[in-house]
Structures are given as structure tokens and as C-alpha cells.
């Protein structure tokens, strides 16, 4: 049981599920600011139509954010676990390398310069959070 919990696949899947849930909550929160295809005509319609449009927007927003967060979480956690398993050490470099790889994969469609920026940004973010969590 302990071995299953320590495995990289389990950790990656767990992070994916947690990211999915968190992304769903964030999406629902962000959808409360405004509806994404900005359409003031919606507010003229009867109440039931407004509720339906709102619900549809909430569902779309939260499912897209949930998917993104889930993928990011699974990717980051999986790569960090693999790197740590390879190095057999537990320090900040694992999170930095995993952050760089995840940022690079997420920015892969936007061109090589964005890949570098994504790598550096995500690595810095992940290292900062790790450093904060590890302070004694």
C-alpha cells in the first residue's frame, strides 16, 4: 500500500484530481464576475433564460479551468516525482526542473521564446512556493 502511494503514477493522478477540483472551484468563482461572451441582451430576457445562460457560462468556465489546472497539476507532480526518483535526493532543484519542463510543455504551442519564458517563470514560481513550504 505504501509502495502504491509512493509511486509516481499515483502522485501524478492525485495531483491531477486535486487540480481538477480546484480549477472547477476557481472557474465558478471567476465566472461570477461577468459572462465570457459579453452579451448585454441576455439581461433583457426572462429570468429562466438568464439563469440558463448563467449556468451554461459557469459550467463552461469551470470545466475549462478545471481541465487546465488538472493537466498542470498532473504534469508538474509527475515530472517532479520522476526527477526525484532519478536523483535520489530531495531538495529544491527537483521542483525547479519540474516547473521548467511543465512551463515549457504548456507554452509549447506559442513558439520557442515563449517556451523559455514559460520554463523560467514556472520554475521560479515553483521554487518560491517550495522554499516557503520548507522553511523550518
Amino acid at each position: 500500500m505504501q509502495m502504491v502511494q509512493d509511486s509516481c503514477i499515483f502522485k501524478s493522478a492525485l495531483s491531477g484530481v486535486l487540480g481538477f477540483g480546484l480549477g472547477g472551484l476557481f472557474g465558478m468563482f471567476f465566472s461570477s464576475f461577468e459572462m465570457t461572451p459579453y452579451n448585454p441582451a441576455v439581461y433583457e430576457q426572462p429570468m429562466k433564460q438568464q439563469l440558463k445562460a448563467t449556468a451554461k457560462d459557469m459550467f463552461q468556465r469551470s470545466s475549462s479551468m478545471a481541465k487546465n489546472f488538472g493537466i498542470v497539476g498532473a504534469l508538474f507532480s509527475g515530472t517532479e516525482c520522476i526527477i526525484e526518483g532519478y536523483r535520489a535526493k530531495n531538495d529544491l532543484y527537483n521542483g525547479a526542473a519540474a516547473g521548467c519542463i511543465t512551463g515549457a510543455i504548456l507554452a509549447a504551442k506559442s513558439g520557442p521564446q515563449n517556451v523559455l519564458i514559460g520554463c523560467a517563470g514556472f520554475a521560479a514560481f515553483s521554487t518560491a512556493i517550495d522554499y516557503y513550504m520548507r522553511r523550518e
Binding site: C81, E84, G85, R87, A88, K89, N90, N94, R134, E136
Partner: protein, 90 residues
């Protein structure tokens, strides 16, 4: 005058052989215990940095301990073989 010559003699022999076996087993147990403690000490010093943020072993540490124990045994075997070869040569 015994009607059981083999019984009496062999039980004495058994007692002597058993004592020798018992001594060997004790010695082997001592050696195994000593090896165990050496492995634990050495791998603990090498793999576990003195930062106690979490009580459980994380992935890096448990992988390190697996590798440390495997290497220790392999070194043990190789040194034993080399020593045996030297003993045969001399």
C-alpha cells in the same frame, strides 16, 4: 553393558555435533546482526540529510536507501570473491 550401542553413542555424537552447529549458528547470527547495523548506520548517514520537516521518508530518500542497500550487498559479495581468489592464489 548396553543393548543400545548405537543409540548411546549417536546421542553423544549428536550432542557434540549439535553444540558445534549451535555455535556456528550463533556466530552467523552475530555476523548478520553486525552487518545489519552497519548497513543501517551507513545508509542513514548517506541518504538522510538532517532536515526533519516530515516524519515520513519521501521518494528521494527511499530510492536512495534502496540503492544504498543494494550497493552494500554487491560490494560485500565482490570483496568476498576477491578475497577468496587471493586466498586460493596464496
Amino acid at each position: 553393558m548396553s543393548f543400545y550401542p548405537f543409540g548411546g553413542g549417536s546421542s553423544q555424537q549428536q550432542a557434540a555435533v549439535n553444540a558445534q552447529n549451535v555455535a556456528m549458528a550463533e556466530h552467523e547470527l552475530e555476523m548478520i546482526t553486525d552487518t545489519f547495523y552497519r548497513i543501517v548506520d551507513s545508509c542513514y548517514k548517506k541518504c538522510i540529510p538532517p532536515k526533519y520537516i516530515d516524519a515520513e521518508l519521501n521518494k528521494g530518500e527511499s530510492v536512495c536507501i534502496d540503492r544504498c542497500v543494494a550497493k552494500y550487498f554487491e560490494v560485500n559479495t565482490k570483496v568476498g570473491e576477491a578475497l577468496q581468489k587471493k586466498g586460493q592464489q596464496a
